[in-house]
């Protein structure tokens, strides 16, 4: 990871010095273990702030919204796919960006690490294979692969699909991954089981909207849950309203979600709302052969019509 950090700094300094970009968006070291903070650098003298490690799971494409500057952005595989989605949706111009591509080996799931040890974690370090955890009176070495975010362990697009310069050689993509085992498990449930499963899943939700706001896809000027004229959804903790928020949010991501995991990662109460978006991702793949954010040359399935679109649901 050190090489990545050095290279990111080197590229950022060059871009800022040469005036190729006005700002570079990346990460700086966080104040608590396994958390880094998205930040920007506008002065080549400040690039030492930038770092890279397995705690850069926040999707930086989220920070491009409505910016006017020429931007250098550090992008791992999924960030790059979301940048592609922004370009396809005319949210940003490709020429406005210099993409510093990061071949990614997956992001660490701090909940998994916390669950693997007993006591508060004070320091976490990593190398290519292991994650070393130190806390009050304990030290433990964990296999990095086993403590990755679930979306990362299922990822088959680790290398940025679009970039102007890579910080390292491309990493091998994971082969033979079963991406949708959890979705199939839910698909197999009968309606009552599904209803109860979602009830349990969402029971801790506090409607802080961290999942929505961490998502680069959620850029509506006013979200449907915030509309008041007319008001579409109740704003209390009523379980139907909570569920309506989650389902509709997910539907808005159909054909656009890259399974970057930012939503799940952001949730303060540990809800895996990715099961919703993954179902839609699976449907888009199976029905339209579509994976979001892989190319700027094709229109997404939900804004095009093809005569051979599946229509067997119409009686």
């Amino acid at each position: 990871m050190l090489e990545y950090t050095d290279k990111i700094r080197e590229i950022a300094a060059r871009l800022l010095k040469e005036g190729t970009v006005e700002m570079v968006i990346g990460f700086r070291k966080g104040t608590v273990p396994m958390m880094n903070e998205p930040c920007f650098v506008t002065d080549a003298g400040d690039v030492d702030r930038l770092i890279w490690d397995g705690n850069c799971g926040v999707n930086l494409a989220n920070y491009l919204m409505d910016r006017k500057e020429k931007i250098g952005i550090v992008a791992k595989g999924c960030d790059a796919r979301n940048i592609v989605t922004h370009i396809v949706e005319n949210k940003i111009d490709r020429d406005q960006l210099f993409i510093i591509g990061v071949p990614c080996t997956g992001m660490i799931d701090r909940r998994k690490v916390a669950a693997a040890v007993d006591g508060e974690i004070l320091e976490v370090s990593e190398d290519g294979h292991n994650v070393s955890v130190r806390g009050q009176g304990f030290e433990k070495v964990l296999n990095r692969q086993e403590v990755l975010q679930q979306n990362c362990s299922l990822c088959i697009h680790r290398n940025p699909v679009i970039s102007d310069e890579l910080v390292a050689e491309e990493v091998p993509e994971q082969q033979g991954v079963d991406r949708y085992a959890d979705v199939r498990r839910i698909e197999a449930m009968d309606p009552e089981e599904k209803w109860n499963f979602f009830d349990d899943l969402l029971s801790e939700c506090i409607r802080c909207y961290a999942c929505r706001n961490a998502c680069p896809l959620c850029y509506c000027p006013t979200c449907f849950v915030d509309e008041s004229r007319p008001q579409w959804v109740g704003k209390s903790q009523d379980p139907i309203d909570v569920r309506t928020f989650h389902f509709l949010r997910a539907y808005h991501c159909a054909g656009r979600c890259t399974d970057c995991g930012a939503c799940e990662r952001a949730c303060p109460v540990g809800i895996n709302m990715r099961v919703f978006t993954k179902k839609l991702e699976k449907d888009c793949l199976e029905k339209f052969g579509w994976e979001a954010g892989l190319t700027t040359d094709a229109r997404p399935p939900l804004d095009t019509f093809r005569p051979d679109d599946p229509d067997d649901f119409i009686k």
């Binding site: 309606p191 209803w195 499963f197 009523d238 309203d241 119409i314």
Partner: protein, 49 residues
């Protein structure tokens, strides 16, 4: 979503196909009646403290 399959149906009916329209409406109402009142995604009163 936890909604029974029979509760939602998509049909394509042209404005010239009145017989088909009647048939579709009949089928849908019969299926839904057989399922009984919907209990999911129904909010009568907000459940709050």
């Amino acid at each position: 979503m936890g909604i029974e399959p029979g509760r939602i149906q998509f049909s394509w009916v042209s404005s010239a196909e009145s017989t088909k329209f009647v048939q579709v409406v009949k089928e849908v109402t019969e299926t839904v009646k057989a399922l009984g009142p919907n209990t999911h995604f129904v909010k009568h009163e907000a459940k709050v403290a």
